[in-house]
């Protein structure tokens, strides 16, 4: 869990979402629908985006999970976070943690994604406020910045 091991006893019916929010106090993971349709509960599990409302806590046994709390700090933002700020890509903020994770997971796997690939990567997260444009531009910019730093 964000680089730290946790040992928990969970109910068989407990969702990963509940464990994250209620047991581990990771409030950045949101619940927008509870049925896997909106993506606000997105976390990265073993390198893939998953809807934590659809994952039973027991299914996360031995898995590596990243939530928004594990991405960047006030002093050192992840390039995706910096770019989202610069582009004004966060409005109500409810989908923002999921979008950050989707962007980060994408650039971790694909250092120079096209705009189409970015749209694909975030397609599991709904946004009702922004129309997605600034989110896409921000992730595109962040990927470029990361590539430049690397080279």
């Amino acid at each position: 869990m964000n680089g730290k091991d946790h040992a928990l006893v969970v109910e068989s019916t407990e969702r990963l979402l509940d464990v994250l929010r209620d047991r581990l106090d990771l409030k950045g993971v949101k619940e927008g629908c509870g049925t896997g349709d909106c993506g606000t509960c997105t976390v990265i599990m073993d390198g893939r985006l998953v809807n934590s409302c659809l994952v039973l806590a027991v299914q996360a046994r031995d898995k590596k999970i990243t939530t928004i709390e594990g991405v960047g700090t006030r002093e050192k933002l992840h390039p995706v976070q910096k770019a989202l700020m610069k582009y004004g890509a966060a409005q109500c903020g409810f989908c923002t943690p999921a979008m950050v994770l989707a962007g980060k997971n994408l650039v971790d796997h694909n250092p120079s994604p096209s705009k189409e690939e970015i749209k694909e990567a975030i397609s599991g997260v709904l946004c009702r406020c922004t129309g997605y444009y600034k989110i896409i531009d921000a992730i595109h910019d962040a990927a470029k910045e990361i590539s430049e730093v690397r080279s």
Partner: protein, 771 residues
Amino acid sequence: MTETAAVQKLREAQRFTLVGKRIQRLDALDKVLGLPLYTSDIVPKDALRVKVVRSSVPHALIKRVNTQAAREMPGVLAVLTAEDIPGINEAYALLPDRPLLASKKVRCHGEAIAVVAAGDSETAEEAADRISVEYERLPIVTSPVEAMKPDSLLVHDSGNVAKYLRVRKGDVKEGFRQADVIIENTYKTQFQDPAPLEPEVGMAWVEKDGSVTCVGSMQTPFYVQTGVAKVLGLSPDKVRVIQATTGGAFGPKSDEMPVDTCAISAMVAQKTGKPAILAYTRDESMIAHTKRHPFVITLKTGAKNDGRLTASEALVVSDTGAYASLGPLVIIRACFHATGPYVIPHVKTDAYCMYTNNTMAGSFRGFGSPQVHFAAESQMDELAKKLDMDPLDLRLKNILRPGMLTATSQLVDEACSLEECTKRATETSGWRKKRLEFSRDRGPFRRGIGIALMYHGNSLGPEGSDYAYVHMLIKPDAKIVVRTALTEYGTGAISGLAQVAAETLGLPIHLFELDRPDTASCQETGPTVASRVMVIGGRAAQIAAQKLKEKLLNVASDSLHCEPSKLTIRDENVYHIDDPKRAIPFKKIVEECYKKHISLTETGYYIAPKCEFESENSQGTTYLQYTYGAVVAEVQVDTELGVVKPVKITAAYDAGRAINPLSVEGQIEGGTIQGLGYGLTEQLVHLGGMVVNPTLGDYYIPTSLDIPEIQTIIVEYPGAIGPFGAKAMGEPPVDLPAAALANAVAQTIGSRVFDLPITAEKVLFAMKRKR
């Protein structure tokens, strides 16, 4: 652009330090780190979870509510029905037609009947399942047109008309006599669900002194205060309401829902002595909260052969569902804008807001404007077809220009930019060239281009007193706190207020902080709706900032030994305007003020002039200023399947003065996609009054893979009342996309779909009809 215009623009840009700059919002950092606290993020560990039992039928008498089994369940700490309401069982936004908890009758699917509270959600849900309601079912009326019939069943004893109003200008009979062509069509629109990503939620607890504190997802804390106090039988000063970070709103969080969630939680808190939280599930939210009114609009339009409009007759009927909510105000805006932004000498509009047994319709971004513009703009294209004119030329012949009169006989002022918006949108999109090019498409995939224009009366207009209070205080560390009961829920409007204040004071934005809307520390300021935060709140912010500035300059004038009028503030220093070396740091002045016990707290209050118009025929000044816009939409239609692919939207809007272009673009882009969903894919389906698709899986809001290319054009014709000339930009972008897409599709297939959403099925059958 001419040299003079370019120089003018430069001079304008130099006029402002912050206005017009793309500034990051004050809450942006927190948001990208996932730090903001939404209501469900700050629930005390011992809080009870509340579950509401809702009607499973659209219209029935309640014979009995059986709560015994729930009461007996271990872990259940409260079971409440209407009998348990300590104060008055009422929770309505405008007309006194709605109870908080139904007791004798339910009038729609999803009405709240009983409430259960337990230590955890599962127990509360199970207990709720054990409550059974015995109904005696009643017949239903689900069409607003049916509800108008004299023999229609009544949803309320007072009759099915929640509101009627009309516009009469000139003599429409004469207007049609003068017409060379007359066309008549009926347009229909659907229930659109606002679908904010955070469902409604409210939490409450009882303080030691017996007062109640509510925290929730909401747009208007003082409405919640009044509503909760009424239900609890307390005086409002015994109810404190705080807005938590709100994950999207768009309207429903200003109407009945926040009162419901907070009042119900508060009742449970009073009964049990523990904090209580009511968090809607998504399907509960979609069934219960207010949504966009479906409209049935019949338009009869007359014009001369050269395209000049002579007459418009409109019957505008809205379906407000079982309870009126703000339907009576939505119908007013719809009525006034029903003709579209055109000069028409003879106008007759009759508008009815009707009760039915569908679920409640109320506030949703656009507030009647998207519906009437879909109809009016479709009608203009139909007229163009009849006259064999280019739809753009027909519009240019008739659009409102300075000096002309609107349908309500309001004189249009110099801030009318409709012609410029239209020209910029059509030139940028390549309207004429594409119209020709697309008409030559052959094969199954064909392209089309459509246009729609709008005007949007700003702020409350005829809806009520339009005022705002913004408080500002400078702390000892020289940080400036902006505090108001106007709320942020994604628009960036409150950051915009800080930007206006910063501009007025001449201080950089990083010195500003936003405080949380709290009825205990803010003056009641009217609702955060109608895109009024910048226009009205912005003026109040300016006034507060100006008062502070005067105080600061007075104190500085002592230290600098000169008249305050010779001083200005810039770059965190107070300067003498003739001799910049005579300066004092702003921080020092703040210290001085504190030393001299000069209060650095000011309140700005602004009230807009009243709109003067004659209400019988709705003639006069209905809004103090208007936002104008033009949208051109390009589509590609798969003519074998009817599927419409939106390819590009070119949108030109007059923001008056774009205080923060980044925020304005954000509103335009977001509103465009909401409008896109409204036009092509979104429909909250009611069958026999029951909502059948209350899930985000079966209610299709656009995803990132559904968006077209977008080109945003910001035009600036400063308005009469907003700060620095700002105009409302929150709602207008939702008004036109559906209309422009409808026209683009009609051009492509040579046949029209008259009702929204424009699904593939409707397109295919419209094409078949044509053959």
